[in-house]
Amino acid sequence: MKNRLFLLGFILTGTLLLSCNKEECHECHYDAPDGSEVELGEQCGDALEALEANGYNLNGENYVVHCHEH
């Protein structure tokens, strides 16, 4: 009985741990004036949040950043 409960505890813990999210990372880009997509590479955590909130600034020009796959 004890061994079975330990096994179950292991399974339950493993189930929950497997489901915990690691830091989210996504490929991001912005749309250049000519309509092409300029890749910004993989962005994670705080950097991802900052890009999505503030956009990408290049030479005084601010571009909206998109990070979802198409």
């Binding site: 929950l16 489901s19 989210e24 979802h68």
Partner: protein, 742 residues
């Protein structure tokens, strides 16, 4: 007289008069031999015991002076009876070949299924193991008259007689579920973890369930506790090919003397599903995780049940587009992915509930207190900044006094909910405003069972809803409601039952119908509310005829539902911010009518064979506009063949199930709807059992075996021309360990 033939009780005075042990023996009426593995369930405290190999049982917990027990065994007619637990009882059961629908006990009222005056359809989740379901809405669609409206397996809700969303009330273990179900893209919000049974009451039932029990009620019941002084551990693992989906769950049950405990956990993950054309539907991926616990404790005059559940879901929202005329090809991918993407919903639910029952002689008092917290964030364009975000909190109570006086049963109660909805500051937009809502209702239901074959029930209720929203919107809605029902049984070899119910329903407009204004990406439309909406009122006539004999069961259930101030969301001929514009409007008079019918052939001479066919059809019409109502389900014909096999081998084939659902063409559409083609969906499943020291159950099979291309009329993706899932191979393993507690 019937009860005397069914049950002969021989009371013996217990020698040890100070003991609280409740003992007895279950016997075969004809042979007088003990019946092994009969189930003795004390419904008042939810404790059960299993009889031993010679039919003896004992339950050692504090018990009230009078208890209701349900005694059931395979191939015997079950009994619900009142007994004095200080006496030794003998119960003699009569052999029966009627189907298991008969033996089940309704959790809400404690009555036997067959004694109900209202037609209730009940489904055990374990009965769906051979052909497993993706979610509870799909499970519910196995019930005649119930279908599902979905955006893929991750987002799905039940449709009862053409009604869904805010018109269908969901109740979990007696507590109302509130999780933003108004949204077309918001699913039922509950996983299958620890769920034992589902019940559906079709049509308005405001008398017992209050405001919003308008189109029907879905009652979700957790799994029962383990039998006394026993434990069990159930581990289940499933895999399906259509979305490379896996689901793992574990449930522990412990039961020792006065204390009972269940604990479960679940994690599941599904990629984008594959359509019949081989492509994958973008953003149809989803992930669920959850934990659930339930604790029960009782004394002689009191039983307490405490529940806690946490669930987290991440649901992709398929069909997202900025094109006013979307191309279906733009939603189809050549590759499959499960990584979190946007648009998606991030949903967290906390549910806490405390149920108390106090025994006062023959009578009792029920007190339920509950708290739920739902957070729903929708990420449309950014991963870290929600487009929409809402926090919904509910505080619920229900106090009921149950009086039993001879053949009379009187239930009187008060029930209410305080709801607070707030938009989170970080969200970019608001679709509905912040609001507070207070519901209160008072009711009384009287039932009477005569000595002959007639019983009836009637009752009245008064409800009040107070709604306050930002922007100075405040409104009060109130309504009385009633229900009258009667039941008549006749015949002996062929048991005939006739049920007639006349009931009313009341639904106050939801804040999403009154004050919505903005882009609802998930629902693929721009929505505008109508603050002048009035409450809906419904009157339903429901007639149910059943025939049961040892070979055949037959049900015919016609109904007619007349509704005042029917609210609907109507497409306008405009595009706003690249989304079609929809406004909320009301129809003065509407009617929904139709019938459900079912025949089940289970011959006495071929116990291993079950054949079941069912058919449902519904018509929905606006009387003053002479047009059809939107989103009326397609008529459906279901056929199920089940063959069971005896144990012959160590790795034994136990059952084969073949299902076919034929959905008829839907031509009865409203002006802004398109018709839907008919189609067939076929599934086949096999159940094996590996008889090792602890048997292992293995199910595998194929759903949509012919890879049919279909779009259901209620599919939220119909207007963008996207198919439902294609052929789906699955395998599931169930491992159950049981033992005695020392």
């Amino acid at each position: 007289m019937k009860n005397i033939l069914l049950m002969i009780v021989f009371p013996f005075v217990v020698q040890l008069s100070f003991t609280q042990e409740f003992k007895g023996k279950i016997l075969d009426y004809e042979t007088k031999e003990g019946i092994p593995f009969a189930n003795i369930y004390i419904k008042d405290i939810q404790v059960n015991a299993i009889s031993d190999s010679i039919g003896n049982f004992s339950i050692d917990v504090p018990l009230p002076k009078e208890i209701n027990i349900l005694v059931s065994a395979s191939f015997y007619e079950s009994i619900l009876m009142k007994v004095n637990p200080s006496l030794f009882i003998s119960v003699e059961l009569i052999k029966s070949y009627l189907e298991l629908d008969e033996v089940l006990l309704r959790p809400k009222t404690g009555t036997m299924q067959r004694d109900n005056i209202i037609r209730v359809d009940r489904l055990l989740i374990k009965d769906l193991n051979t052909i497993p379901v993706s979610n509870l809405s799909e499970a519910l669609s196995n019930i005649n008259g119930v279908q599902e409206a979905s955006m893929g397996p991750g987002i799905s809700k039940p449709v009862i007689r053409g009604m869904q969303g805010v018109r269908v009330l969901s109740v979990l273990n007696g507590m109302r579920l509130e999780n933003q179900q108004w949204g077309a893209d918001h699913g039922l919000g509950i996983s299958q973890l620890g769920i034992g049974a589902l019940e559906v009451i079709k049509g308005p039932n405001s008398l017992l369930y209050g405001v919003d029990a308008f189109g029907g009620v879905v009652y979700i019941e957790d799994e029962k506790f383990e039998s006394q002084n026993a434990y069990s551990v159930n581990v289940n693992s499933k895999f399906e090919s259509v979305n490379l989906g896996y689901s793992n769950s574990a449930l522990i049950k412990l039961s020792k003397n006065k204390f009972r405990f269940n604990l479960g956990a679940l994690h599941s993950s599904f990629s984008d599903f594959q359509m019949p054309n081989g492509k994958y539907l973008a953003d149809s991926r989803y992930e669920d995780m959850g934990v659930k616990t339930r604790i029960s404790y009782n004394t002689n005059n009191w039983v307490m049940n405490m529940y806690y559940m946490f669930s987290h879901s991440y649901n992709g929202i398929p069909g997202h587009t900025h094109d006013s005329i979307p191309n279906p090809e733009s939603f189809m991918l050549d590759f499959q992915n499960r990584q979190r993407n946007i648009p998606a919903q991030n949903i967290n639910n906390h549910m806490f509930q405390l149920n108390n029952k106090f025994f006062l002689g023959k009578n009792n008092i029920d007190l339920m207190l509950g708290y739920t917290n739902n957070s729903l964030d929708e990420y449309d364009e950014k991963f870290t900044i929600p487009g929409l975000g809402m926090s919904l909190q509910n505080i619920l109570y229900h106090l009921r006094y149950n009086i039993i006086y001879g053949s009379w049963n009187i239930k009187t109660g008060i029930q209410g909910m305080y709801q607070i909805n707030k938009n989170i500051a970080e969200a970019e937009e608001q679709l509905i405003p912040d609001f507070n809502q207070l519901d209160n209702g008072i009711y009384s239901i009287i039932s009477y069972k005569t000595n002959s074959n007639f019983s009836f029930q009637f009752g009245g209720r008064y409800d009040l809803r107070n709604l306050d929203a930002t922007d100075d919107f405040s409104s009060l809605y109130s309504s009385p409601n009633f229900s009258i029902g009667g039941k008549y049984e006749f015949g002996s070899t062929n048991k005939n039952t006739l049920l007639l119910n006349i009931s009313s329903g009341f639904r106050a407009p939801h804040v999403s119908e009154l004050l919505v204004n903005g882009k609802h990406h998930g629902a693929l439309r721009y929505e505008v509310g109508n603050p002048n909406l009035k409450s809906e009122r419904a009157f339903q006539f429901d007639l149910n005829y059943e025939l049961n004999n040892e070979h055949v069961s037959f049900v015919l259930n016609p109904y007619f539902n007349y509704i005042n101030n029917y609210t609907q969301i109507v497409a306008q001929d405009s595009i706003v911010e690249n989304l079609p514009l929809f406004n909320f409007e009301q129809i003065d008079e509407a009617q929904l009518y139709g019938f459900d019918t079912k025949i089940h052939f289970h011959p006495h001479f071929a116990h291993w064979l079950h054949l079941e066919s069912s058919y449902s059809i519904i018509y929905g019409e606006s009387l003053n506009r002479s047009e059809n109502i939107a989103l009326i389900p397609q008529p459906r014909f279901n056929f199920v063949l089940s063959v069971k096999f005896k144990k012959k081998f160590k790795f034994n084939l136990e059952e084969i199930v073949v299902q076919n659902s034929h959905f008829f063409r839907q031509n009865r559409v409203t002006t802004y709807e398109t018709t839907s083609s008919g189609y067939d969906l076929s599934n086949i499943g096999l159940k094996f059992k590996w008889y090792i020291k602890t048997p292992l159950e293995i199910n595998f099979g194929v759903k949509n075996i012919f890879n049919t291309e279909y779009i259901n009329h209620l599919s939220r993706l119909k207007n963008i021309g996207v198919f439902n899932p294609g052929r789906n191979f699955y395998i599931s393993i169930n491992y159950l360990i049981k033992g005695r507690m020392k």
